[in-house]
């Protein structure tokens, strides 16, 4: 229903026009409380990052016992953890985040995750994306439902960094996508004015195809407008040049190295228009069954640097922005025979933003002795991931109870954690 409305407004504005429409007509104009619009950026780490080597319990003897070769050394030692609060430390390759921690703009919720434990990447990712753990058949993602709620009283837009729409954004509401990497504005066929003119004419009606074309072009215009100057479109490279690689467990998420570039572009988009309220980015490569230390040492610096770049880029609206970093599950407490870890349950969620009561590790930490582990092997889930998101939706995005119910159906807050100032 909402989508229909949105699209019909767009097509009314464009019926019979030959030229691509501007972004403004894509979403309905009207009252907007966008001046102080709040933003939410979700960064999804696909593959199940090892939260215990990100937020390290360096005062737990069990930690070092369980991980004889891959534990991060004590803070005082060489390549040791960066001490956070005397008990927990940060992986040394995330040093770019330390200023944020010291400014109290970064917090962690340890032991968080899906209350229904699935050790399959896909099922576990599905639950975090559809927001209905235990129910696989949910049609849409919680960010799409959230977008629908934000559009009830003002206009909002969701941007996804990637070539395809991830489950979390699938649903009735349309979203824009930013092609990842520095090629985000590389030419596609319909950027060519001659081609666009012909197809805009072909799809100038009010039928479903026409609406989709018009929405697609409008979304594309936004990206080009905001980012086109920085990275001029390449000539002569059509859609066929789109990257073909798709790594299975990554669901199309890219390698972390592109993350710094993407983060810079996302910052520009967030800053450019208060309507750009929701952003989803995902980064793959965290499935560390073997040789975990090398992999994390390679990937974490870009992740930290990218987040720092994002924060730097949105300075003027940092107070109105929350960035959440999450992953489908954590990994086994004990290291395996290949200097790696296997699929586990709870992880640490990261929250960053000007309004975060940061400099603190939240959650219900129960230690790593065998008795407190889930099935004797994993860090147990003590905070439902929706408890974290629900708090952001309420305190940051000012959602009322009815909206919250629609975003997270069948969910009852259990463990409220106040990490927003």
């Amino acid at each position: 229903m909402k989508r229909r409305k949105l699209l019909s407004i767009a097509s009314l504005a464009t019926a019979g026009m030959l030229t691509p429409i501007g972004w403004n007509s894509w979403v309905a104009t009207g009252k907007t409380k966008s001046a102080k619009a709040k933003r939410l950026v979700v960064v999804f780490l696909r593959g199940g990052i090892d939260g215990l080597n990100v937020v390290i319990p360096h005062q737990e003897a069990d930690y070092y016992q369980a991980r004889p070769t891959i534990a991060i050394p004590y803070p005082q030692e060489e390549n040791g953890a960066l001490d956070l609060d005397g008990f927990f430390g940060l992986h040394p390759q995330l040093k770019d985040l330390m200023p944020l921690w010291q400014d109290r703009n970064l917090a962690f919720i340890h032991g968080s995750g899906s209350p229904i434990v699935e050790r399959s990447h896909f099922q576990a990712q599905d639950y975090l994306e559809n927001g209905t753990p235990g129910i696989k058949s949910t049609r849409d993602g919680w960010m799409n439902r959230l977008l629908g709620e934000l559009c009830l009283d003002h206009q909002a837009l969701a941007i996804n960094v990637g070539n395809t729409t991830p489950y979390i954004l699938k649903g009735d509401m349309p979203s824009a996508n930013l092609k990842p990497g520095i090629n985000s504005t590389a030419a596609i066929a319909t950027d060519n004015p001659l081609i666009d003119q012909a197809f805009s004419y072909l799809y100038s009606g009010t039928d479903d195809l026409s609406k989709a074309y018009q929405d697609g072009q409008a979304s594309r215009q936004l990206i080009i407008k905001e980012l086109g100057e920085q990275y001029p479109a390449r000539e002569g490279r059509g859609a066929a040049a789109l990257r073909e690689e798709m790594i299975a467990a990554a669901r199309g998420a890219r390698n972390v190295n592109a993350f710094v570039d993407d983060a810079g572009e996302v910052a520009k988009l967030l800053l450019s228009d208060p309507k750009n309220q929701l952003v989803f980015m995902d980064v793959s490569g965290w499935d560390t069954h073997i040789n975990q230390a090398n992999i994390l040492n390679r990937l974490l610096p870009s992740l930290g640097q990218g987040l720092a770049t994002l924060v730097e880029g949105i300075k003027p609206i940092f107070a109105d922005t929350v960035i959440v970093v999450m992953s489908e599950f954590g990994r086994t407490v004990k290291e395996n025979g290949n200097k790696g870890t296997d699929h586990g349950s709870a992880n640490a969620m990261w929250v960053l933003g000007g309004a975060i009561a940061g400099g603190k590790v939240y959650g219900n930490w129960q230690g790593l002795n065998r008795a407190s582990l889930y099935q004797n092997r994993d860090l147990a889930v003590t905070t439902d991931f929706r408890d974290v998101l629900d708090h952001i939706l309420q305190a940051h995005l000012s959602m009322d109870a009815n909206s919250l119910k629609r975003v997270f159906p069948n969910y009852h807050p259990t463990n409220r954690i106040d990490f927003l100032t």
Partner: protein, 497 residues
């Protein structure tokens, strides 16, 4: 000069429009049957080619339908053989078990503690490549068949059944079994539904995908480790997605009973105890107790229990209805008419679930032949790309590029993670991003991106695409001629079937 030409064209087109408007009733009748021919070809194939049009015109519609329902009666196209000959099939021609053992040997090497981390990574990489290359080969073979086979309805049914009985290639090592699995679905595409159930229930691809390989009675003698307990995954999806449907009237108790019934249906990776492709019933992990399933008492008969359960499911009215609904949705309309579904369900029950008979009924139903439903099914990305290649009659296309385009359109082959398979409705596939991408691909294909040495024949393409709407025609007339092919391939006419 140019001005004159334009005037001439205008008069020509105006004349044509006048002529089209003044066709006699007799001519209109021919036009009607022309559009029925087109409708049949659009729905029973992946896109119209000149050869098919000619075939229908020679044979007549009915003979064409009957030949398509009896694919073994159709001599295969030399063009298909030619394309298959040029593909590297070295991996999929091997036994899946042999490939799995190759992977297992690599995994064993990893246990050697003396290996450096670099060596470990290299071995891991070899396994990733082995999986990817096997899947790619299966992908390219299937694309070749879908594009060039003359047994088009059979290939269309492979698309239907694969999504109905979806497996996800990259889970564990399912990639190695994909080609075999698809071939089985092809062989049984028009068979009794019960046979399809048997094929899928005993195929390692399915047993791995839905975890039944681990499904064990916890108290049985061989229950240990990963094989130590009951796993309901397959039982649940068998009921929900393969047979009765989510509202098919079963309970959680039935799911548990069915899971117990299927304990021990597993895979033997050693290639010793199982059948040729590794299916293995392990009686020592089977629950020997009595079960009640859908109100029926199932006595302990080992593997026979599962077969009895499949018998019950294959002939169940809810199954008849569910399969009929899905077929009607695939072949007629996203919201299929209830009358048609009822009719098909009846046929399903009276024919003992014979798919050929059900399809025959479907194709001859008044709903299928109602012009109201012509050109109303929005092509999935798979159907769209294959139809572009077919309508353009491109030979030697770059299969790897087609695969990449499918990835870009969020429909990577054999990589649908959810057991629901890919949907075939407009709601699932029409969105702004994919629309621009499709037009990008249409333009690229028009410019020869799938085969630089092949030049598309405009007239042939137009003929294959069929009658254009006045609006499409008008846009083409007013656009630069060099955009003609792109506009045809990116037109609404090309996006619906």
């Amino acid at each position: 000069m140019r001005h004159k030409l334009r005037n001439f064209l205008f008069i020509l087109i105006a004349g044509l429009i006048f002529w089209l408007n003044s066709v006699t009733p007799a001519a209109a009748k021919v036009e009607g049957s022309q559009s029925r021919i087109r409708h049949i070809l659009e729905r029973l194939s992946f896109g119209v080619t000149a050869e098919e049009i000619q075939q229908v015109e020679t044979q007549g519609i009915e003979a064409f339908i009957q030949s398509q329902l009896n694919p073994q009666s159709i001599a295969e196209s030399p063009l298909l053989a030619q394309h298959l000959n040029q593909l590297d099939l070295s991996l999929i021609e091997q036994n899946p078990i042999a490939l799995r053992q190759q992977m297992g040997a690599n995994l064993k090497k990893l246990k050697n503690t003396k290996l450096s981390l670099e060596q470990q990574e290299e071995i891991q990489q070899q396994n990733i490549e082995l999986n990817r290359e096997t899947r790619d080969q299966a992908t390219y073979v299937q694309l070749a068949r879908a594009i060039y086979s003359r047994r088009q309805l059979q290939e269309v049914m492979v698309d239907f059944w694969f999504n109905h009985f979806n497996v996800y290639g990259a889970k564990n090592a399912i990639n190695f079994w994909l080609d075999d699995y698809v071939n089985e679905l092809r062989n049984y595409a028009f068979a009794d539904f019960r046979d399809l159930l048997q094929i899928t229930a005993t195929h390692p691809a399915m047993l791995i995908y839905l975890d039944n390989q681990f499904n064990s009675d916890p108290n049985s003698s061989d229950a240990r480790g990963a094989y130590g307990g009951l796993n309901e995954n397959y039982a649940r999806e068998l009921l929900e997605l393969h047979t009765l449907g989510v509202d098919g009237g079963y309970t959680q108790k039935d799911i548990q009973s069915l899971a117990r019934i299927f304990t021990g249906w597993s895979v033997d990776y050693q290639g010793k105890k199982g059948n040729k492709i590794g299916f293995y019933f392990n009686a020592r992990r089977h629950d020997q107790g009595e079960k009640v399933f859908l109100g029926q008492k199932i006595t302990a008969t080992g593997m026979g229990e599962g077969e009895q359960a499949l018998d019950i499911l294959a002939t169940h009215p809810a199954t008849a209805r569910f399969i009929s609904y899905k077929l009607a949705q695939y072949f007629v309309a996203d919201q299929p008419p209830a009358t048609l579904v009822d009719n098909l369900a009846q046929t399903f029950l009276t024919s003992n679930g014979n798919i050929k008979i059900v399809l025959d009924t479907l194709i001859h139903s008044k709903e299928f032949n109602d012009p109201r439903f012509y050109q109303q099914k929005f092509k999935t990305p798979y159907q769209y790309l294959i139809s572009l290649v077919r309508m353009s009659e491109i030979v030697q296309p770059d299969f790897k590029r087609i695969k990449g385009m499918l990835n870009q359109l969020s429909m990577p082959m054999y990589m649908c993670v959810a057991p629901t398979g890919y949907k075939n409705t407009q709601q699932a596939w029409l969105n702004p991003q994919s629309m621009l991408q499709k037009i990008g691909f249409a333009t690229a294909i028009a410019n020869g991106s799938l085969n630089r040495d092949f030049s598309l024949d405009d007239q042939q393409l137009e003929a294959n695409l069929g009658q254009l709407s006045p609006h499409t025609q008008q846009v083409i007339n007013q656009s630069p001629p060099k955009l003609l092919k792109a506009l045809l391939l990116g037109s609404p006419e090309a996006m619906y079937r």
